[in-house]
């Protein structure tokens, strides 16, 4: 059986634009210097099976959204190609667009002065659906995301979570086989995010058997939802597998998590110098107070622990909690890049 989505050396490069300097300086720079390029998607090869919920996990700017935009034909690749629902994104863009529903996170992508029902009716017509087909479908979809009671209110009165639910059903209006969800829970409160996640997993994947490609920089979201995950950084896929497989790839490493205050920024490099420590990731909760969390990867926690505590205490660090933890996808990312996802 052929995959629902398949990318073959998919590559996209952009010219780096800068707004530094006056308009004249920028014009002179444009003429006199060679443009700098940024590779947003770098020879990506993925295969997503029918009915699979596949995650692209990576920090902001990793190339997740560019990958989605390539797959839905909003961008054209510089190299390589992809097949979506069996259609080539370069040669058959119209067929691809009919096959996918795209849902982006955030507040944009809806007409705020129209009601939810008017928005859906508008997009249904743009997908060449007749009103007698789309109207019952709209009722059904509104009910599905529990917006039926407020369907005739303008979108500007909606909460962020309600707008996101509307985004989701807008992407479903033409009943696409494949859904591309770009950061669907971005900026939502935990309760609204949970509603979206449950809907995606339960309704869309389990009941409607949709193939779903979801991008996120929330590791818990990827862990909970996805059958398989590709970890992406600087446009490259650097890890691929089920969440369990990815975590297992770190199973030989011990992970120590320390919560402390008065942590100097140099703590990361000091700890990295200790023999036996492979990675250290430092993230500040409150940089003024030096309150931070350290995640340390080592092959043998027991042997390096005394030196870790000694090094930190000698720098005036106050340790509040220290524990050995099970690896998460965050640790997988640290193990692969040496950085935390949020960095």
């Amino acid at each position: 059986m052929s995959p629902a989505v398949e990318t073959l050396d998919l590559t996209k490069t952009f010219v780096k634009k800068t707004l530094k300097g006056s308009i004249f300086k920028r014009m002179i720079r444009r003429v006199t210097t060679k443009p700098e390029h940024v590779t947003a998607v770098d020879h990506v090869n993925l295969q997503i099976g029918e009915g699979e919920l596949f995650g692209l996990l990576g920090p902001n700017g990793a190339g997740k959204t560019s990958t989605i935009k390539l797959l839905c034909t909003l961008l054209v690749p510089d190299q390589g190609t992809a097949k979506v629902n069996g259609y080539d994104i370069v040669k058959e863009p119209n067929k691809v667009r009919e096959s996918v529903g795209v849902v982006t996170g955030g507040e944009r992508g809806l007409y705020w002065r129209l009601t939810a029902r008017e928005n859906l009716l508008f997009f249904a017509r743009m997908y060449d659906m007749s009103d007698h087909v789309s109207k019952p479908k709209i009722d059904e979809l509104l009910k599905l995301v529990e917006l039926d009671g407020r369907a005739d209110e303008t979108v500007e009165k909606y909460s962020r979570g309600m707008k996101q639910r509307l985004h989701l059903i807008r992407g479903l209006i033409h009943d696409p086989a494949i859904l591309l969800l770009d950061e669907p829970t971005l900026g939502l409160d935990p309760a609204s995010a949970r509603v979206i996640r449950d809907f995606v997993k339960q309704r869309l994947q389990r009941e409607q058997k949709k193939t779903i490609l979801l991008t996120t920089h929330y590791m818990d979201e990827a862990d909970q939802l996805c059958d398989r995950i590709a970890i992406i950084d600087n446009g490259k896929v650097i890890g691929l597998g089920t969440p369990a497989e990815l975590k297992k790839s770190l199973s030989q490493a011990d992970i120590i998590q320390i919560n402390a205050s008065k942590v100097p920024e140099a703590a990361e490099s000091l700890l990295k110098n200790i023999e036996g420590i492979s990675e250290v990731a430092l993230s500040f909760d409150d940089s003024d107070a030096g309150r931070a969390q350290l995640r340390i990867h080592t092959m043998d926690a027991e042997s390096v622990l005394p030196e870790i505590t000694q090094t930190l205490v000698s720098k005036g660090v106050k340790i509040h909690a220290l524990q050995e933890i099970e690896p998460t996808l965050e640790d997988v990312f640290i193990g692969l890049t040496g950085r935390k996802l949020r960095d």
Binding site: T73, N94, T104, R108, L114, F122, M126, Y127, D128, T154
Partner: protein, 276 residues
């Protein structure tokens, strides 16, 4: 191309625009008020220096026009031009500003049909302006229309509107490319107003400047309407104006359509379509 599909796209955009238009009370008020000061400005620039009779006599002797007749038609066409340029040309830029351009471009709907629907839906405002200006003139100046062929008037009006939508289609691509649609549209307003003879006869311009007027479709639209509404001209009398207008319409639509395709292709390559 399926006519049913194009009709659905047209219908969707047309109805959405009307709904959006009526949802802003400020737009409604502006639409009602706007023709009044513009018309007054055009008229009082003459009445400030001479009486209505004296200006009309001069215009009639030299150019075969009356003051109110000249101003009415010029103002109507100029208002339509502005409305259609903004609504058609600026429509994709507006979608970008509203954050809906990517979801819109994800649909298989024709871009050209979207643009045409954007332009023609704005004629609801345009229709009010035409009526308002004629009513104001009737009350204020007691203008007498000397129409002998209403079909000629209707053909001229429809031809003018289609030509102006075509101009909008042509500019839509430039506006996307530059991402400075507002500034570009604004910078076009004064030159068009000047060269097309909105508030004075084109024949009053120096010969060299009259050549510039000949590349502006608005000039021919104004001229044709003046002939049908005020001089009692029929279809045969305005062929000299209508034929260039149709030529402009065909060229602008044809070039605009291909330009739009090129621009979209380029924007998909450099990712600029979705950036503000």
């Amino acid at each position: 191309m399926s006519l049913g599909k194009e009709w659905r796209t047209f219908n969707a955009v047309f109805r959405r625009n009307l709904r959006l238009f009526t949802s802003y009370s400020t737009w409604l008020i502006a639409t009602i008020i706007w023709p009044i000061p513009l018309l007054a400005m055009n008229i009082y620039q003459y009445l400030g220096v001479a009486s209505s009779r004296s200006v009309s006599t001069t215009l009639s002797q030299n150019y075969g026009l009356t003051l109110s007749g000249m101003i009415i038609v010029g103002t109507v066409v100029y208002l339509l031009y502005n409305r259609l340029l903004w609504s058609t040309g600026n429509s994709l830029q507006t979608e970008r500003w509203m954050g809906t351009i990517d979801v819109l471009f994800l649909t298989p709907a024709s871009r050209l049909t979207m643009l045409l629907a954007n332009g023609l839906s704005s004629l609801v405002e345009g229709a009010w302006w035409i009526v308002a200006i004629f009513l104001l003139n009737w009350f204020i100046f007691g203008i007498q229309l000397t129409v002998t062929s209403w079909p000629a008037v209707a053909i001229t009006l429809v031809s003018t509107m289609i030509a102006l939508v075509a101009v909008g289609v042509f500019f839509a691509s430039f506006f996307i490319l530059s991402r400075a649609a507002d500034q570009m549209a604004s910078s076009l307003q004064a030159p068009i107003r000047f060269f097309s003879g909105v508030a004075f006869p084109v024949a009053a311009l120096p010969q060299a400047l009259q050549f510039v007027s000949l590349v502006i479709p608005v000039t021919f639209a104004i001229s044709a309407l003046r002939a049908t509404l005020l001089s009692g001209g029929g279809i045969v009398d305005i062929l000299n104006q209508l034929l260039p207008l149709y030529l402009f319409t065909a060229v602008f639509l044809f070039v605009g359509y291909f330009l739009l395709r090129i621009v979209e292709k380029r924007a998909k390559k450099d990712g600029s379509l979705y950036q503000m």
